[in-house]
Symmetry: D2
Subunit: 287 residues, 4 copies
C-alpha cells in the first residue's frame, strides 16, 4: 500500500587517529568518518530480513582497517578506497558515501624546533572530504567533494551595507563601515581529479580567505560571489562551489546613553558580538 | 564567465516567546524561527547593489510582529502567514521559507492544580514546522512540512539483530535481545491541509511512539518502516514521511573479565551507553 | 623545591544504563557517573611510580559492576556503596567522590496504558547525587549532596524589578511586570539521612518549583531566598542549599519603530529570548 | 530562622570585541567577560529591596565602556580596572570578580603579507584572566589569576603506563608505548605582578607545552607535576598552578579479529579516539 522510497544506512562519526611512525618524526591524521550504503536493502525494512545487510559495525571496522592499509596518500585517496571497497566487495551495495571531517593539529615547537611527536589541536576550522562511489568496471563512478566548515573569519573594516529595500518593518540603519564576520561552511565539487588533493585544498582555502580580506564588500552576498569565483579561478578541477555564510553580527555598542563625563566615543571600536539570530547567506557558483 | 546558481538569504534562529495573557490563565509559545527568501537577488551578489534586498533584520522584525498579529492559531498558521507575507509584499521575492523549532513547556503543578503562568521546560524533543510559499493569486502555493527532532526513545527488550551479511571485517555478534535506542529526526510532508494542525502532530507522534514500543523489531530498519506506515495510517493528510534514526548503541558490559567471587552475572541488565560512532538508518515512506 | 598540594584522580562521565527486568514491567536507570580518589598518590606524580594507583579504568569497571550488585535501592545508595568500596578496599585511597547525573525517562503510553519496556527521554533537567566517603570503622564518614541542574523555569508575570541603585552607566528601565526565567543549578547538603532519598528529592524539587511560581518576585535574588527556605522547610534532613540561577533575559520587542498601520501593540506579549549575556544570581541558605 | 550565607550576583558571558584602529593596521581583542559583586546585598534577597543593587545590566554596560576607556594595556589591566571600578565606585560592593575568556585570532596572510584588518579565529584553546578586587585605599587588594582552557595536546609516543595497583575489577593491560592526549584546563595564581602580563602568559604556556612534549611520561600524573614545576620555573611571579587534565583515551584498534589475508598489523598506528568516559587527573603545584 505504501512505498519505501529513499533509504540508506551506515555508521556515523567514527573517530579514528592514524599515527605514521616509520621515522622518528611522526605524522598524525585525525579523521571523523561517516559511511552510508545504498542498494538492495529493502528487505531489511519490509520483512526484517538482514541477510543483505553488512552491519554498520563492520563498516566501522573497515574504516579503521583502511586507515592502515590505504592511509598513505591524501585523505581523499583513503575515502575513495573505502567507498570503492564497499561498492565492489558488497554484492548488495550499489552506492557508498564516505564523508570525512579532518581535525588539524599543529606540531609543537620546542626550543625553536618542531617536535617529532607532539601536536596541539587547531580549530575550530575543519577540512571536509566527501566521496560517493557507485558502479563497477566500466560503470565505476566516483564523485569527490571538498570543503571546510567552521572557518571563522572577520574583517574590522572594508565592509558597507546600505541602499537596501525597505518596508514598514524596516528599522536597520545604513552603514558604510562595519565589521564583517562569518563562519564559513563551504563545499566544492571536483569535476576532475586534481594533481594533488592537498594542494587543491590549500589553493581553494587561500583564494577564499584572501578574497574575503581584500574585496571591499558592499554586502556579504557580494563577498561570497567573489570568493566562489576565486575558488574556481584557483583550482581548475573544481566545477562548482557552494558557500553558506552566517552573518555573525557585531553591533556597535551605544555609549551615548551613559551620563559619564566626558562622554565616551565609540568610533567603530567596541562591539557586542551577538549569538543569535544571525543572517544566513547562501550561494552556489559554477563554471 | 562563471554562473551564480542557487542562492538565498534570510535570518537564522530568531528566538521569540509569545505570551497569551488575555485571561488569568496565560499560555506560552516558544519558537525559534528561521527565514529565507529566494527571488530576484542576483544583483546583490554580482554588483553589490542592495536595492532589491529586504534586510534580514527586517525579516526578523516581521517574525516578531507576526507573533502578535498572526499568532492566535497553530504554529503552522503563523508560519504560513509569515511566508505568504514575504512573497506577497516583497516585489523581489518569489519564494519564502519559514522554518520553526517549537520548544515545549509543561505547566507547573502547585498544590495539585496547574499554575496559571508558570512552566518548566520539557526537552530535548522539539516539534518542527516548515513552510515554503511561492507565487500569488491563482499561482499561490504553500507547502507545509511537520516533524520532530531529538525524540529520544528506548526499549529494553523486543529487539533482535541477527542473520546479517558478513565479510572478513565482520566481528559483531548476533543477538535476539538487545536494547534499541534512537534519537528520532522525522519530517513529514502534508499533501493536504489537515482539519487541525495540532491534532495531526499529536496523531503522528503517537503513531510513531506506539509503533516503536509495540513492534517486535528485527532491525531498526524494520522499525522505521513500520513507524512510517503508522504515521501515514494515522494522518491521511500526510503524504510522505522521512525518518532519520541514529542507532544509539548500548553495549552489554562484560563482567566475565573480573575475578570477583562469586562472579557477577549480566543478563541484559547493565549497559554502556556509547556516544560515537552510532549507526544511522534513514528511510522515506510514501503513499 | 616545589610542593604538590591538592591532587586527585578518577574517571569522568561513565554513562551506564541499568535495566531492571525481573518482571515483565521493566524499569530503567540512566546514570552518568564520575569518580575521584584522594589519598597516598604523590608517588605517581613525583616519580611516576604507579604501584599505589588503581587505574581509572578499574574505577569505571567497578561503577558498572556495582550497578548490578548495588543497584536495587536509590541512586544515593548506589553512590554510597561505590564510594565506600573505594575507600575500604583500596589501601591507598583515603577519600572517594562519586558524582552522578541522572537522566529521566518517561514511560511511553500505548492505547492509554503505560508500556512495560519503552521510554522517552525527558530533559533537559537532571537530578544530581554527590557522595564523599572517607575513613573506615568508627571513622567512616559519608557526606551526601543532592540537587538538580538545567531545571528551566519561566513565569510570564508576577515579577518586578525596580528601585535599584543607579550610576552613570545605568540605562536599564524599571518594570513592574516582566518575564522571569532561569535555568536552576541547585545543590543541597544532607545533614542527616532522610527516610527516603527519592521522596526527599521530590519534596525539595516541588518546594522550589511551587515557590518560584507563587512568590510574587521583586527580584530573582528574593525568589532564590524564598526557594532556599522552602527546600529547608520541606526536607528536614537538608542542612544547606545553594542555588545558582542565570537570569535568562526575555526582552519585550519594540514594535513602536515600525510604520505599520495600525500600530502593533505589545503589552507584554512578544519577547526576544536572548542567549548571552545573562544575569547570574547565587545564594546559599542554611539552617 | 534560616541564614543567607554566601551570595553574589553579576553578569555572565558578555561577549565584546574591541578593534584598535588608530593606524591602518588594526588590532583585535575578543573577550567574553563575566562579572560578580559581593557585599551589602542581603536586602535584595531578604526583602526584595533593590536600592543597593547595581543592575547586572549596568555591569554589562560598564564592561563595554571600559573596553574603550581602559582597553589599551593587557587584558589583565582591563580586568583589574573594571574590578577596581566596581569596588571603588559602588558603595555597597566590597568585592568584585572579573573573569575573562580570550579568544585568539590569527592575522590572515595575503600574498605573503599579514593583512591589516582581517583575521581567522584560532581555537579551541582560550586564555583566561581572573581578577578579584576588594577593599580601598590602604586596604585595596587585587588578586590575579591566569590560565588556559581547552588546550588540546597529544603525543604519539614517549608515554607509558604500567606497574599500577590491581584488584578484582582490574582488566586494563599495561603498556610501555601509548598515545597521551589531554585537553588542559590550567589556572595559575600570581603572587606578584609580572613585568609583562602577555610575556608571563607566553612563558607559562611554552613551559607547559614543551614539558608535555619532552618529558618521557610514566603517567599523566607525573607529566602534570613536571608541567606545574616548569610553569613555576618559567614565571617567578606565579605562586601556584592548578592543572586539570582529562586523559583522552586513544585505544589501539584490534585488527586481529579480522579474517583478512594477509592479517593487518597495527603497531601503534591506528587508534579509536573515544569521547567518554575519560580519566581526570588533577594537581596543584606550589612554591
Amino acid at each position: 500500500m505504501y512505498t519505501l522510497s529513499a533509504n540508506q544506512y551506515g555508521k556515523g562519526e567514527i573517530h579514528l587517529v592514524r599515527i605514521y611512525r616509520d621515522s622518528p618524526r611522526h605524522e598524525i591524521r585525525d579523521l571523523t568518518v561517516t559511511t552510508a550504503l545504498r542498494g538492495d536493502f529493502a528487505d531489511a525494512y519490509l520483512t526484517g530480513d538482514q541477510s543483505k545487510v553488512l552491519p554498520t559495525d563492520t563498516q566501522k571496522n573497515t574504516a579503521f582497517a583502511f586507515a592502515k592499509t590505504h592511509g598513505e596518500g591524501a585523505v581523499e585517496d583513503y575515502a575513495i578506497a573505502l567507498a570503492r571497497h564497499f561498492v565492489e566487495s558488497d554484492p548488495f551495495a550499489t552506492e557508498a558515501d564516505v564523508d570525512v571531517l579532518v581535525d588539524a593539529w599543529d606540531r609543537v615547537v620546542v626550543d625553536g624546533a618542531p617536535h617529532d611527536f607532539t601536536w596541539v589541536r587547531r580549530g575550530p576550522e575543519r577540512r571536509t572530504v566527501g566521496v560517493v562511489a557507485s558502479g563497477s568496471g566500466a560503470e565505476a563512478r566516483v564523485e569527490v567533494t571538498g570543503g571546510v566548515v567552521d572557518l571563522v573569519i572577520l574583517k574590522s573594516t572594508g565592509s558597507e551595507f546600505h541602499g537596501f529595500h525597505k518596508d514598514a518593518y524596516t528599522t536597520l540603519g545604513e552603514t558604510d563601515d562595519r565589521i564583517l564576520a562569518t563562519s564559513l561552511d563551504v563545499k566544492w565539487v571536483f569535476g576532475a581529479v586534481p594533481a594533488d588533493w592537498d594542494a587543491a585544498f590549500d589553493a581553494a582555502r587561500t583564494a577564499m580567505v584572501s578574497t574575503f580580506a581584500t574585496w571591499h564588500s558592499l554586502a556579504l552576498q557580494q563577498t561570497l560571489w567573489q570568493m566562489g569565483q576565486a575558488v574556481l579561478d584557483a583550482v581548475p578541477s573544481i566545477s562548482t562551489v557552494t558557500l553558506k555564510a552566517p552573518n555573525k553580527h557585531h553591533f556597535l555598542y551605544d555609549f551615548t546613553r551613559f551620563t559619564v563625563e566626558p562622554p565616551i566615543p565609540n568610533e567603530n571600536e567596541v562591539f557586542h558580538a551577538d549569538d543569535r539570530p544571525y543572517g544566513m547567506i547562501e550561494a552556489t557558483v559554477s563554471r
